[in-house]
Subunit: 510 residues, 2 copies
């Protein structure tokens, strides 16, 4: 069967991923190493993610702020000293002026060298910590709940659009609390917010749980993540939430006067999701004809395509389409007014149709002059693109029938995409592995769609954990997380031989 | 009369401005030169501005994208060569890694020097132009209408919060068109959008018009602005829209195949407004008790302050306040559901009241136990803060009466703030100046509140204009703009002695 893309997922998943991004006009290389241009369709999806996530953030009483792009080099010196795994790949600003080089070019002006270099923020714990130290005086100021939407830069050697770029867009929540219990509750609240966003908004099933010690954010006391399974069986860490203990509060001097008048260190948290989520949406919901966007995050949920003939009949056709559009935007689906585009651009209808198929618009309507005259519409559900005979699955309906069903159709697409991804994930989690040889064998036998292995382990730490990590690394595997509420487990740890205490997922990962 | 701020506008306008920002908790110095921390109240106002402006941008068919933070140095070399007035004060990234200096500190790693330095975008014409050259093939692709919300950096020697900071937040619209007429129409559409936003959303009266040749954006064929008068009589350029002609299209190679099959250069535009608007809101609407936020851009339009006594009566009081809140958020004012905060924080009610007064919340309700029992509310309009006798102007009302009036009160505050600013501006525009000496005299006589002078001039260009600009500069004056539709004018140009052809405003400016 012929598909809209030239590469299928099963032929070459990585090439397929790049082709979806190009053909759906989501993003492209910018000419600047590791930085992408996010095009309207990709950015529109990000705006939807922002809109839905921001509402969740605000509903939790967190207030948005904005902190500087630049962080003085000295702020990092302390961190570098104390924190194992401190990442030093950052963009360093050293000059503040250009000057002509006398050969028709420009160079950094040697007279405009900064006394102290500035770092383009890779994350904002240090600078936000300093602000918190100014803002927090007494227990009355706690909890302090802040968030920012921002761009950050981490110099990456190997980049992949949306998944790993030198510059990316994200939100970073930063909170300060009176004690460990409050800070842990906030850490887990953010994690649950991410889980709900992934499942309900992105239609992506995820495992919310704690990362092993070796995967913690440098300096954190505990790191939690949501982990999603891509269609190639690999894991994607789609969001993280950190309980930072006192360490960052101590470094920045975030203290408060408690009710007894004592100066006390705060406990802090941080949590973030990024444009990486868009990569997850592609790899969970895309198919061999392009992207399929869950209706909640689709910039347009319905696209109406009038089959214009550049003749006298067009006016009536357009009037009919406009009437349809108006009737649709007056309806509410998934808690918001419908988002509908009437696509009047010049060009062939078939070409335009396949453009929207590749972009993954949930519902596409093609309307010809005869439909308009007869009060009909021709409806294509993007998630049911072909009939068993291989023909494109347009369904003819009376206009009123369609208008009465549109909301239910969108809600059904949203839940069907989630159900499909959940079933696929379920089929690719292996629970029968009982020793290292079995683990090796399982991944050797499933090179193309490795899936995940669910295991019970003894939660090793320190040098023992390092040994486990090294063994897994040799197999290109990592421990993803321990699901929350993993409950009591039985049996023996396959790595240490000790009694198992909790459940984990082992997988290949992006 | 005592006021909430320690400095009044008439005593020291610049110090008053800084105090409003500090006391309303809008922003503060970050410890990074020229960069500010925007605190929740300041950022909340920016979010409102973004929300309203973004709707206007999308309604015009412009699509949001995101382009890289970094621009290769070589992209600027061509511009620097061709464009007079090319600004070279930019942040230059030269390294991509830090390394320990062996003395407990960090330095840029000499082995990680970039082959080509990267510039932190001061504006994005060059990089967006290159994308447009890729995206535009034929006349069918035109117009191409893009916008981005982003942070930009221009190294500023003297900074002032919101008005001139090294990093600021803005939107930059970039569009490409088939011909001059279309591009000019877009330039003026954006200008009108800014005018409407300033007047309708920010309640700031502005003059929309063309900047003189010497004030054009480097490389532009024409630059338009909206100009607002601050309470100290100075002008603030609050938004600009540029018709760029073919110059940027030629530099980036933005060409299209026209209907006759000819390769043709596009005409481009760009337009932007920034966090500077917030500085304008402060200097137009602030008073000696702090900020006054127009209801359309107020993060909270109504704050409900229960006068808690930490006793058994609090529960009934809070229930009454919550009932009020619910009744308010169910109403629509100025096209959106009311934004209402029930402020339950610990602390003295009077202290909390003055906090909200300084932040400029349009309506403040204080509710005591007796009000709750009697079905009353006590309402304070921020724009009518004091009675003639100097007392704070709380008005007692029955709850239902208040609920029936709340929408009208907010609409009245929005229009009253606009009317007050318009009347003040009208009183500070001088039309009777007929020669240079008179101009000098006028500004010498009005040092504190200079106001603007409206003149007719001959629209000089080139060397003649340079002479005029130099004369004005000596008086610390600039030509702000020529209002659109300035009509036919009579008389002689005060600078050149030639027949006047258009009207201009001359002013001191931020």
């Amino acid at each position: 069967m012929k598909h809209a893309l030239s590469v299928t997922r099963s032929e070459d998943f990585a090439a397929w991923y790049q082709e979806v991004i190009a053909e759906a006009e989501m993003a492209e290389e910018s000419g600047v190493r590791g930085c992408m241009v996010i095009r309207p369709w990709g950015y529109g999806i990000w705006e939807r993610i922002q809109h839905l996530m921001d509402a969740r953030i605000k509903a939790a009483g967190v207030e948005n702020c904005y902190f500087p792009l630049f962080i003085p080099l000295s702020y990092f010196a302390k961190e570098a000293e104390h924190v194992d795994g401190f990442a030093k790949e950052m963009a360093v600003v050293t000059h503040h002026r250009l000057i002509a080089d006398g050969k028709g070019g420009l160079i950094p002006d040697p007279d405009a060298k900064l006394e102290e270099p500035l770092i383009v923020r890779p994350t904002s714990e240090t600078v936000i910590g300093q602000a918190m130290a100014r803002w927090i005086q007494s227990w009355r100021d706690l909890p302090l709940l802040t968030n920012q939407w921002a761009n950050v830069v981490r110099w990456e050697m190997r980049t992949r659009m949306f998944l790993r770029t030198s510059e990316f867009l994200w939100q970073e929540g930063h909170t300060a609390h009176a004690n460990k219990a409050d800070a842990m509750a906030e850490t887990l609240r953010a994690l649950e917010m991410y889980r709900a966003h992934a499942e309900e908004d992105l239609a992506i099933p995820v495992i919310a749980g704690e990362k092993p010690e070796n995967e913690r954010f440098p300096g954190a006391a505990a790191t939690y993540s949501i982990e999603a399974m891509m269609q190639d069986g690999k894991a994607l860490q789609a969001g993280t939430s950190h309980y930072l203990g006192n360490a960052f509060a101590e470094a920045a001097g975030i203290r408060y006067q408690d009710k007894e008048g004592q100066q006390t260190l705060c406990h802090t948290t941080s949590w973030g999701v990024s444009t990486r989520l868009i990569g997850g949406v592609i790899m969970v919901h895309g198919d061999d004809d392009g992207l399929r966007v869950p209706p909640r995050i689709a910039p347009h949920q319905v696209v109406i395509l009038p089959m214009l003939r550049e003749d006298d009949g067009d006016a009536a056709l357009l009037a009919y389409c406009e009437e349809l559009r108006k009737a649709l935007v007056g309806q509410t689906a998934l808690g918001e007014p419908l988002r509908v585009l009437l696509d009047k651009r010049a060009g062939k209808a078939t070409q335009k149709r396949w453009g929207w198929v590749k972009k993954g618009v949930p519902l596409i309507l093609e309307i010809g002059g005869r439909d308009a005259a007869g009060g009909q519409v021709s409806v294509l559900r993007r998630d049911r693109l072909y009939r068993p005979d291989g023909k494109v699955n347009f369904v003819a309906q009376g206009k009123d029938e369609f208008l009465g069903n549109a909301v239910a159709e969108l809600e059904s697409i949203q839940s069907d995409l989630h159900a499909e991804a959940t079933a696929r994930r379920g089929a690719q989690i292996e629970r029968g592995v009982s020793d290292i040889a079995g683990l090796e064998q399982f991944f050797a036998a499933n090179q193309k769609y490795p899936g995940w292995v669910e295991l019970n382990w003894s939660r090793p730490t320190g040098a023992t954990l390092d040994g486990v990590v090294a063994k897994l690394k040799a197999l290109k595997l990592t421990v993803r997380n321990t699901p929350l509420g993993s409950g009591t487990v039985t049996g023996t740890c396959l790595f240490t031989g000790e009694p198992a205490v909790e459940r984990i997922y082992v997988a290949r990962a992006y």
